[in-house]
Symmetry: none
Subunit: 197 residues, 4 copies
DNA sequence: GATGAATGAGCATTCATTCAT
DNA sequence: AATGAATGAATGCTCATTCAT
């Protein structure tokens, strides 16, 4: 009983992530997840309603970690201005996704917009753990601190996040319209234009 | 035999569109499509490989029509500059999607990025019908004509399209971060900034 | 719950045998087998990969029983020579097939040669149950015991078995080229010639 | 219209044989046969009732040709005795099947016993073309000519043919119980024993 | 909590056959 | 005679879900 000591729930989550990224959500059966997690099929239903719940939990957790890690790193730096910090965070996330394209594919392919929005909101809005603010709070605080004029901060942040996520998917994975390294300067230039009016 | 005069293929397409938008692609069976189109189940397979082919054909056709109509309208106007024309086209598309949110949902929910990109490329690149250029050609020509300086037109257009499509989905359907009418000016402002350097 | 006490697997096997012999394998659907066995369709797949697996299992079991029973009977007799014992076993099998022509048809019609050979080999080679040797072992042992000269016992036995099985099918079922009772003496005469050189 | 001059019927037969031997009868559809024969699907039904009729015709023709060729060859030789001639014919057929194992597989795999019997009967009984007697007639005539004593010629011939066909299938294709070249002498030895009493 | 045998709804897909042209 | 669009019956198979243990 020493082996497989991780809780059944986390074993299910890890197994599901491996299978989802390897074979896609649709082609992974609950049977497979349970088998590979060394857990009875019925046990799956003790923790998750169905395949799609476990997928959503995974997207939520993975995205949250991605943003929080980037945010924490940014706090170790000293920025003289908010825009720099925002771009630092974005750059950090992008770099992680470049290194972990499997994660990028999984998050992008499976985010029904509802989940994605909730996720983002939770990630950059809520500071439910420790003392980390979300990126949204950071943005608001930063605006006040640096006395920047932004008409509608929510809409602005929204626009930035949507722009980043939708363009990076293609640029990283398909180098379309150009490889991510060449695309980055233009992207960051655009973000600066959006923030600094 | 007067009823159902439309070709079986178009009846299948129309029926599929109705069912897809009402119940989603996943929850629509081929049986249902065939039944509602008053056509044998085998006949479906005469025209389409599977459910996903008919879905892709629908997305392709609907998107194409959307862009082409907007483009044609734009040609009736007189613009003194390219950016205005681009924004006119975008505004026209957005207005149509506001009126037809079912279409917006269908296109957004079901576009695997591959299909979407192909679709867009075909739509705004190829001039396979009449003498209409695609939006991409328009953009390139306009840049030359108006002697605008744009470093990488492809990347720029890509950024615009991604920005528009991802933000409008939420703004139109969920009024997040704000209703589309309030969001429009900011969006168009950002687009101007992206084009005009 | 007293009815249908036999295990689901054996109920499936019995039902399949009934349907296969009545309607043929090709015209029996898995649905039918499951329905008649009072078992869910999915349950079928719990025990068998497909229709052909259940068919092969049936052939294997039925043939095995046929040979083993005949072999056991032969051991109750006292034979002064090996050929007599072999012919006794063959005669015993033939007599059973005369009485059970449905079984004869089923086995003959459905034996892909591969299966048949495996079956036979398993049946007359392996002594996996009790202390019964297979007919092959019996043959080898008998050759040594009675000091009979047989150049290649494997080929000889093979020839006998093929001869018996292919001729009896027609003789029993169609009385071609003559009824089995008239054919038997010639057949046994030939077998004696093959063994005794 | 010069291409494909062979009659549609023979084109269908040739195509079916190619497909049947490559993919098996079950996995060949009428559509495929018609397509590859450059013939409309409906045309198939003008010439054959279904897939199994075309298969039976093929088996019949191929087997007939096999025996007739061997028989004709035997007539070019001078035999001092019937047994030698019979064995010559059998050897000739076997040699052809060794060279054309695809044909061997096709004939064996697909001969429902009914077809096989009819085929054989037609082949070695009936002299429907030219002046060639069948093998059966040859056998009867030979018995009279050479004044050989054979109690029941029909049963004897039947036994020989069954023995040859069932053993050779395994020996040629699977070298079981031994390769055909090693098996031949024993087989012919056995045949001699069966004929010469 | 944990299990996995049992279930059967649900679906895609194939294909022989028909028949109007 | 020749065709091939249209058909829909037939079937294999998967898999989420239940529930008795």
């Amino acid at each position: 009983m020493k082996a497989n000591e991780a809780s059944k729930e986390s074993r299910l989550l890890e197994t599901a992530y491996k299978l989802f990224t390897r074979k896609g959500v649709k082609d992974t059966s609950i049977q497979e997840i349970a088998d590979n997690a060394d857990v009875g099929k019925g046990t799956f239903y003790l923790y998750f309603k169905d395949k799609y719940e476990i997928r959503d939990v995974l997207i939520y957790r993975k995205s949250k970690k991605l943003f929080n890690d980037a945010y924490k790193e940014s706090k170790k730096q000293n920025f003289s201005n908010l825009t720099d910090q925002i771009i630092f965070i974005i750059d950090s996330v992008i770099n992680k996704l470049i290194k972990n394209q499997v994660l990028l594919k999984f998050i992008s392919k499976n985010l029904s917009w509802g989940v994605f929005n909730d996720t983002l909101k939770n990630v950059y809005t809520i500071s439910n753990e420790e003392d980390t603010d979300g990126i949204y709070d950071l943005f608001i605080k930063g605006i006040n601190e640096y006395k920047i004029k932004v008409e509608n901060p929510k809409a602005t942040l929204f626009m930035i996040i949507e722009l980043v996520s939708s363009t990076c998917y293609n640029s990283i994975l398909y180098e379309e319209p150009e490889p991510i390294d060449e695309f980055k300067p233009k992207l960051y230039g655009t973000i600066r234009k959006i923030i600094d009016e």
